[in-house]
């Protein structure tokens, strides 16, 4: 079954580009060009996820989102906005958005975030105590990491970084996502700080073991996965 997404975007060029990229990924995509239409389409709850632009003619994105949430429609919503201020982000998430991206954005970033949101939904909120990927194991209670039975020492931040990767294993995770999830910073550092942290993590997790688990996806981000 292909997954149905709704893209709400009034700019036709942006939306056609988005739709094309999403269809290439195998999603079924509907498009709404204004808030009213978006509300009408989204209110039957048949979509797995809604990509919602904030600046829309008629009814603005936030109002659409609030209306959906008021109607008990819990479809994940990823907000897109040219409004980049932190206040705006907070407003968006408070109104019931699940994630917030600032325009202009890289499509790879958007795809990665959509994946994460969809995955989170299917997984359900079960409380895990152990995360596993191939022979890498993370005990969340004891805060202990082992690979092939050997204990790996970790700094708290490294632990958090690895935890995020393991929770999203098999998925593309972008640098921005990591910076947000592990450090809670939403700015764009001038140097590639995340790359440095990942390479340190590699030193600990992959070096001296059979097969590497942390893979670089060129120009997009990282993925934690067993080889093959």
């Amino acid at each position: 079954m292909s997954r149905k997404l709704l893209v709400v975007e009034d700019d036709t060029i942006t939306s056609s580009y988005l739709v094309q990229s999403l269809r290439e990924q195998g999603y079924t995509v509907d498009v709404a060009e204004d808030g009213r239409e978006a509300l009408y389409l989204a209110s039957d709850g048949a979509y797995e996820l809604v990509v919602l632009d904030r600046m829309l003619p008629g009814l603005d994105g936030l109002s659409v989102l609030k209306a959906l949430r008021a109607a008990r429609i819990e479809t994940p919503v990823l907000l897109l906005s040219a409004l980049s201020t932190l206040d705006e982000r907070v407003k968006g998430l408070k109104a019931g958005g699940d994630d917030y991206m600032v325009k202009p954005f890289a499509v790879s970033e958007l795809l990665a975030r959509i994946e994460v949101l969809l995955r989170r939904r299917s997984a359900g909120p079960e409380a895990e105590t152990k995360l596993r990927c191939a022979d890498l194991e993370m005990d969340l209670i004891a805060r202990k990491v082992t690979r092939a039975g050997k204990i790996i020492d970790m700094q708290p931040r490294e632990f958090a970084l690895l935890e995020y990767l393991m929770r999203h294993q098999g998925q593309l995770v972008t640098r921005t996502m990591l910076l947000e999830a592990v450090w809670d910073y939403h700015f764009d550092p001038q140097t590639n700080v995340i790359d440095v942290h990942i390479s340190r993590l590699r030193q600990r997790v992959d070096k001296g073991f059979q097969g590497s688990l942390i893979h670089t996806i060129r120009g997009a981000g990282y993925r934690l996965a067993a080889e093959g």
Binding site: S84, T85, L86, D87, V90, P104, R157, W183, D184, Y185, H186, F187, D188, P189, Q190, T191, V193, V196, H197, S199, R200
Partner: protein, 470 residues
């Protein structure tokens, strides 16, 4: 009810008229009350004198003499004000022109104001009367109708009217004076505003000769104008630099695309060209983002974004992010965060500002040197320091590098937009702090100095109602 604008003169007059009415009515009212009391006492005395005179006539010459005396005075028009009632023991009227003794009064009283009738069918009138009992069960009453007391009301009213008229005249004069005064002092503000509308942003209201209330307003206005002028100047400078930066970027971009589309190159070359174009666009977006960030830091953030936080924790977190980055670059980043230092700040923007400073330090530090990141409590208040051992910034350029897009010649070779320090300065300003650069001998120390200062109020601000309560 719609509010119509009114001239100050009219408003002042409208305030003053009721005040003047009160100011005239109250003293004249009091005066009238006192005068009428006095006057009544005079009338009372007149009546009791007459009564006493008649009483002595009776004592000397008997009832008939009194009767005659009353008749005389009734026919005599000169003493026409007095009215009499002289009754015998059977309460039969012997003389006088009043029909009946006042109902509730006794046969003898000093002074009462009661209704009495002159003749049988006349309406009773209010009169002031005195009465006395005479030997032989006679009794005698003398009265003067209140109508004929000749109360000084007219006199007082005339004086009051004159007073009121004078007060009104003064009001009008005062109104004109005040409005003239307002107009005269406003005119300098208006003229300045008109000059500014005419395009001369540098004009300011002259404050020196104005009365103090006006100079407060003018000073505030001037401060506002300066702020606006600053913003405009900055805007212009920024627009120019953006235009310049973007123009060169776009020119390169256009040229790349032109060459690629007209070239004979294969797919490989096209791909390279597109990659270049994409990275050119990326750098433009990066510049745009930095500008937006600066703008938003300068615009301020809503109060609920500010939180009480500990600087030491903040720099440990940022340090945490950058220590490996510095090591990777062959440098050492030492974080000194000993004691907790409380400030009210926007955690994320402040972290970003510190990150910018560290980025710069990493960029310019010679291999193998150390960068110090420190939070401490200085004499002026909390401060954050980032020091490096790089080339530093010459003293004369330190003010300049904080401006947008300023890149010193030495830095032209390295990547960067020239916006890093502007953002730091803007973030500092947002926190009521300032950015100071000084020599680390050798190297550069950048300090974000928080100043713990109370909110300044403009002088005499209590004279003005604040429409906006913070």
């Amino acid at each position: 009810m719609p509010i119509r604008p009114q001239s100050a003169t009219l408003q002042i007059a409208r305030t003053l008229i009721p005040l003047s009415i009160v100011a005239t009515l109250v003293p004249f009212g009091v005066l009238y009350f006192d005068l009428s009391t006095l006057h009544e006492q005079k009338i009372e005395k007149e009546v009791s004198d007459e009564l006493r005179a008649l009483k002595s006539v009776y004592e000397d010459d008997g009832a008939a003499a009194v009767e005659e005396r009353i008749r005389d005075s009734l026919t005599n028009s000169e003493s026409g004000r007095m009215l009499y009632l002289f009754e015998d023991g059977y309460r039969y009227r012997v003389a006088g022109n009043l029909t009946a003794w006042p109902a509730k009064s006794s046969s003898s009283f000093a002074w009462e104001v009661v209704p009495l009738s002159r003749s049988t069918f006349a309406e009773p009138e209010v009169m002031g009367a005195s009465a006395t009992e005479l030997p032989g069960r006679y009794r005698l009453l003398v009265a003067i109708p209140r109508e004929e007391w000749g109360m000084p009301i007219g006199l007082v009213a005339k004086a009051a009217a004159l007073g009121f008229f004078i007060a009104m005249l003064l009001n009008v004069i005062a109104g004109f004076r005040v409005s003239h005064f307002l107009r005269r002092h406003m005119s300098s503000i208006v003229e300045t505003a008109e000059d500014i509308l005419g395009g001369d942003m540098s004009r300011r209201v002259k404050v020196s000769y104005l009365p103090v209330e006006f100079s407060v307003v003018s000073a505030s206005l001037n401060a506002m104008l300066s702020r606006i002028e600053d913003s405009m100047t900055t805007m212009r400078a920024v627009t120019d630099s953006i235009a310049h930066d973007f123009r060169s970027s776009l020119t390169r971009l256009g040229a790349r695309l032109e060459m690629a589309s007209g070239g004979k190159g294969g797919e490989q070359e096209l791909r390279t060209a597109m990659r270049d174009a994409a990275s050119e666009v990326d750098s433009m977006l990066h510049i745009l983002n930095s500008l937006l960030e600066i703008a938003r830091a300068e615009a301020g953030v809503s109060g609920d974004q500010m939180a009480d936080m500990d600087l030491s924790t903040l720099i440990s977190d940022v340090g945490d992010l950058y220590v490996p980055v510095a090591e990777e670059a062959g440098l050492q980043l030492n974080v000194h965060a000993a004691e907790p230092i409380q400030v009210r700040a926007h955690p994320e923007l402040l972290a970003q500002a510190i990150a910018n400073l560290i980025d710069n330090a990493i960029k310019y530090s010679p291999l193998g040197t150390a960068i110090e990141l420190r939070a401490s409590l200085g004499p002026l208040g909390p401060l954050i320091e980032v020091s490096d051992r790089g080339p530093g910034i010459p003293a004369e350029a330190r003010e300049r590098v904080i401006h947008r897009f300023v890149r010193l010649d030495a830095a032209r070779k390295s990547p960067g937009s020239g916006l890093g320090l502007s953002l730091v300065a803007a973030v500092a300003k947002l926190h009521g702090a300032f950015l100071k650069l000084h020599d680390n001998l050798p190297g550069l120390t950048a300090v974000i100095q928080f100043v713990a200062k109370p909110r300044r109020k403009p002088p005499l601000s209590f004279l003005f109602k604040r429409s906006v309560e913070k």
